[in-house]
Symmetry: C2
Subunit: 323 residues, 2 copies
Amino acid sequence: MTEPLFERLALIGIGLIGSSIALNARAHGLARHIAIATRRPETLKRAEELGLGDSYHLEAAEAVRDADLVILCIPVGSCGAVTKEIAAALKPGAIVSDVGSVKGAVVAQMQPHLPETVHFVPAHPIAGTEQSGPDAGFLELFRNRWCILTPSETTDVQAVERLRRFWEASGSNVEVMTTEHHDLVLAIVSHVPHLIAYNIVGTAADLETVTQSEVVKFSASGFRDFTRIAASDPTMWRDIFLTNRDAVLEMLARFSEDLASLQRAIRWGDGDALFDLFTRTRAIRRGIVEAGQDTARADFGRSAAGEGKTEAAPAIATVAPDR
Amino acid sequence: MTEPLFERLALIGIGLIGSSIALNARAHGLARHIAIATRRPETLKRAEELGLGDSYHLEAAEAVRDADLVILCIPVGSCGAVTKEIAAALKPGAIVSDVGSVKGAVVAQMQPHLPETVHFVPAHPIAGTEQSGPDAGFLELFRNRWCILTPSETTDVQAVERLRRFWEASGSNVEVMTTEHHDLVLAIVSHVPHLIAYNIVGTAADLETVTQSEVVKFSASGFRDFTRIAASDPTMWRDIFLTNRDAVLEMLARFSEDLASLQRAIRWGDGDALFDLFTRTRAIRRGIVEAGQDTARADFGRSAAGEGKTEAAPAIATVAPDR
């Protein structure tokens, strides 16, 4: 076995993401010692039963002592308080990271508490399922998924490279960008799509003219895919919209503007405007299929439908941290 | 073999839907003679090579002569002209039907040309793939899919029942409703979801701050499902929005109103409003899973991702008639 990448890895929070990181660190020999911290005794006990780490701590500050990599795997809203708690115990030269879906707000919360002697490299593994807790983790969660790192301009390049190697060893493709750019990208590829899905499902639920059972019955006509997205964790998504407010509002304004223009085209019977857009959007779909992010298979799940068999759900990658 | 339901079935148009109907009529012995008409000689030749019918006609009026069931399997926009063409050749007592995604506009186009001696029972099989042409048809297309019939109040009840038996024998679940109600239901479960998907894919394509390759790369975060919907046939969808204008505009206005209110909640940090909606939408998702319209499986297609394996696409049922 080669020398591990890190001597001591501290995971603060051991939900879906934390436990999946632990499994990867173990399987690929990425850390000599895995220290796990979580505030809830039952969760900590469960992590120990599962053998996810080498030491278990109710106090985050204890877990991070002597650690050379510390990853906060907790909700975005808790990152500031926890950073304050662990700051004094951090080893000089340690890398401190997180897994939040929003980066600007996390940096704003964590940065002020961090000593100058540590390397802060925020991260966002774009991976997740709707499951949570230490039992939910699995080794393949990050495989072929993107992990975005958002170091600042002054962050030590070697620290960024070490964290990149850690995520690559866990199966991720790593991309580096600024926090601002990350938040814009995620707003359009993830946050606004989720908001729209939540919104139309709500609109449908409120109709007086069409019953809810009709909506359910005929959902396969397109609506169904929106409900799948709109079943994501409410607490996590509330926090995402509140913490990535500016980027979401910016993208949402553009979306609404474009929609108003489509609405006008429909009202005035401007078929060419509709046709042009509908043709243009096909090219993006082709790009996604060509990039291997989806398949062009056209059986539409029919082979599995209506026979009680399972059907592969599309990948809606979300970060559902320790809750 | 039992007596067939119909002596002579005439299919006008032999694309995905028409050829799938032909295959079902043959396999389940629903008609003694299947007459196929299409305007394009190559398509007719191909239908004959595939052995889809018993007689083949370039003139629709020839195919419908003596038929006791006539189904127009052509784009919504062509139904008026074709009905005018076949009207004089229709046998008294024949059932005339169609397969269009919009019913109000189809009725308005067809009704004025139809003699009073025939029974007009509009139909909408909610089934389809993105494929088209006579080769695209398959026997299972309608299995466990809904087919909505929209007869008027004065339509002969027995004619409606015969058409219901025809669709049920092809594997469909049949529901009867008014044309107006059909168009409202489809507007919310299908047409507006498609419009929104087209719209956000367009918004993403126009961004200056996020590149198209980034959108493609990180699409698995939610956006991807929208692109799948937004890759549907542009001509067909243009026609749907133009012909179901009133219902689409009505639903779209509600959607935009609701979205504006969500936008306000984000701007003013009203987390409770967001949380309440996000919790409410989960109930609808549960209803869909319980109704057997989807599964709760949570592997998000990961087992297939990134390994060149295929992944089951979700069922987006659309009618893609003869084009």
